[in-house]
């Protein structure tokens, strides 16, 4: 800051000043390159989604010509019209929302309750119970044994198969327990002195203090539930009303991957006429469903993103 007056009088600061000048040039070059690279990376991250968005709003037969960037060439709502008139997609959307809400509510309730119990250092069975849960992060009986259990419990093709098997996740349990432990003991002691029992302390004292962490855990659980499709495939594919958005999308993806390779080679010209003047193609339809499946997540994301980094950090420190 004060070099302005110093370097005019004494020769000594000359050397550092020259060095600083060279450093500035190097810095400029580096910053320019670095910034351009990172902007390019951001484009790479965003482009596939924007491209799919553009195709989903583009006329299907025109999209076959290729070369659509991030803006539709022949604007059309036909794809969404077709998608939203498939009865299964409405049902699937509703079921995905319902499933996500129920899973988040039950998971947060039970996980936080157990996390509270395990955070009490006086709890006698704290250690063995923690071990039982931590081990399940590593131990997995396997896909078919799990399927068999659900079948034997009579939960195949029921809504329960979505939420009952996932009311606790060990990772979130440890995350919440670590956070609850960081709450000053004095607060919980003062609740005790005021006559609050364990349930009341958990629900009325600890839960409100955990809101930021609960938001993070809730986000992780919600994303996981919204994005899952294997549970539908394994447990609930027998009942049409239990279908979910991701499951419908993967059905479409699987069939187009299996059948579409030949049509891809002939230019994807197999445009499926869907009534009306405009036509839609499998690629255009799939783009629309991808957007329907991705948009809710992208919509919630900005509201919760400020929390999740702190959530990751709590989870990474073993208590």
């Amino acid at each position: 800051m004060t070099t302005l007056t110093a370097d005019s009088t004494t020769p000594r600061p000359d050397a550092p000043r020259r060095r600083r000048k060279r450093w500035t040039l190097e810095q400029t070059i580096f910053t320019t390159l670095n910034t351009s690279f990172l902007v390019l990376l951001a484009v790479v991250m965003l482009y596939p989604l924007l491209n799919t968005l553009a195709i989903s709003f583009n006329d299907g037969s025109d999209a076959v010509r290729g070369g659509i960037g991030i803006w539709p060439r022949v604007f059309s709502l036909k794809n969404y019209d077709v998608v939203l008139h498939m009865g299964s997609i409405y049902q699937a959307f509703f079921m995905s929302v319902l499933k996500t809400v129920v899973v988040v509510a039950t998971n947060l309730f039970f996980t936080s309750m157990l996390a509270y119990a395990l955070s009490r250092s006086e709890f006698v069975f704290r250690k063995p119970i923690t071990i039982i849960f931590v081990l399940t992060m590593y131990f997995d009986a396997g896909l078919i044994p799990n399927y068999l259990l659900i079948k034997d419990l009579g939960m195949l093709n029921t809504f329960q198969a979505y939420w009952v098997p996932v009311i606790i996740s060990a990772f979130n349990l440890i995350l919440l327990r670590t956070y609850i432990k960081s709450i000053p003991e004095e607060i919980i002691e003062s609740a005790r002195i005021d006559g609050a029992g364990e349930f009341r302390t958990w629900w009325q004292i600890v839960m409100p203090l955990c809101k930021p962490t609960l938001a993070v855990v809730g986000l992780f659980v919600a994303v996981g539930s919204w994005n899952s499709w294997l549970d539908t495939l394994l447990y609930n594919s027998g009942e049409q009303w239990l279908t979910t958005l991701q499951y419908e999308l993967q059905k479409l993806l699987s069939s187009s991957m299996n059948a579409g390779l030949d049509s891809a080679q002939t230019g994807g010209a197999a445009a499926a006429a869907a009534g009306g003047g405009q036509v839609t193609t499998p690629v255009a339809l799939r783009s629309a469903i991808v957007m329907v499946a991705a948009v809710p997540i992208l919509f919630v994301y900005p509201f919760l993103q400020k929390h999740f980094v702190s959530g990751i950090m709590i989870g990474s420190v073993k208590g």
Binding site: D140, A141, I144
Partner: protein, 346 residues
């Protein structure tokens, strides 16, 4: 209001002579309150019945849903036919299924499946780790905070998309230009190739496609822990290096990189424990019959060959193999991390 004020241990400027001793004192007080071993008596259990009511049903639940399914492992020793009814009415065949899976024609297929799982996982792990380290270093050099935050949020975003969506995006991106394949379009426009490449029908590209798609999805997310490790490096080190005339690259190479090395090592070790458990959706959706020899992984094998074709017993054997190897790997990874005197990440 109170939620934000209680989170960090508040140091009150009170009558205490040394406020900084507040935190350790509380810790030690808590420790002395709780002797390491306490006899479990009926009185104690009675006193803690509320905590037990909270915990015990959930423990039973967890045992039922996570440990009890292991009874299905009995199928590994049976010739399981769903038509015969429950698992108790099956024909017992001893180790026949193990021999069947690990030798002969099935053995060749299963060996290929294991190689594919390892190849895809290891490539994904190496590419993902290198990419995340480089991105964390570059992001760290951005001094404009709002710009940095925007970049971070954009790169974190794909992590929240489902694998089904990501596989759909990848399938489009890698297809022919007529199906929206913008990668081919770009390669054609830049005259790198003369003919569009059918990426998803070339077995040799498959591992790379899996690693690349994983990189796209998880790159930003994986930088979080590295960025946190970088902020923990003392600024004094950088100042000292500057005085000694170190430039930007020198500081990156000699201070930042060694500073996050423990994090890199721990994450690498921990992640290598999961090497057989990753990679399900991409090979499942993108792996068509043409590239199956490079695409099929253990999980895909279990779902396709076991569940969907009804070969339950063989699939259970494959699942047992995966779980046992995973437990050995995770166990040794944790031990290695402890040996290196690092905190183990859960």
């Amino acid at each position: 209001m109170t939620a934000t004020t209680v989170r960090p241990p508040v140091i009150e400027p009170g009558p205490e002579p040394d406020p900084s001793s507040h935190i350790p004192k509380r810790e030690s007080r808590r420790k002395t309150e709780q002797p390491p071993r306490r006899k479990i008596t009926w009185n104690l259990i009675k006193a803690q019945r509320a905590l037990l009511v909270m915990a015990v049903p959930l423990v039973l639940y967890q045992i039922l849903f996570k440990y009890v399914p292991a009874y299905g492992w009995a199928m590994a020793f049976q010739n399981f036919r769903p038509g015969r009814g429950s698992i108790w009415n099956q024909e017992w065949v001893g180790f026949y299924n193990f021999v069947n899976l690990f030798t002969g024609l099935n053995g060749e297929r299963f060996a290929r499946v294991v190689v594919n799982t390892l190849g895809q996982s290891i490539l994904t792990l190496i590419v993902g780790t290198l990419g995340a380290i480089i991105l964390a270093l570059l992001l760290n050099e951005i001094k404009n905070l709002p710009f940095k935050r925007v970049l971070q949020n954009i790169t974190y975003m794909p992590h929240f998309l489902s694998w089904v969506v990501v596989a759909s995006l990848a399938a489009v991106a890698l297809s022919l230009p007529s199906s929206g394949g913008f990668i081919n379009q770009l390669l054609l426009d830049l005259h790198i190739v003369d003919e569009p490449v059918l990426f998803l029908t070339q077995p040799n590209y498959f591992w790379g496609i899996v690693a690349g798609t994983n990189l796209w999805k998880e790159l930003g997310w994986n930088t979080i822990l590295y960025l946190a490790a970088i902020t923990a490096i003392s600024p004094a080190l950088y100042e000292a290096a500057e005085v000694d005339g170190a430039g930007r690259y020198r500081k990156m190479w000699s201070i930042t990189l060694p500073g996050i090395m423990p994090t890199i090592v721990v994450l690498l070790i921990i992640n290598s424990g999961w090497i057989l458990s990753t990679n399900f959706e991409l090979p499942y959706f993108l792996g068509n019959g043409v590239v199956a020899e490079r695409a099929e992984t253990i999980d895909v094998f279990v779902l396709r060959y076991g569940y969907q074709l009804g070969n339950y017993s063989l699939a259970v054997v494959a699942g047992i193999f995966k779980t046992v190897v995973a437990i050995i790997l995770v166990g040794s990874a944790n031990m290695a991390a402890k040996r290196l005197n690092q905190e183990t990440l859960v």
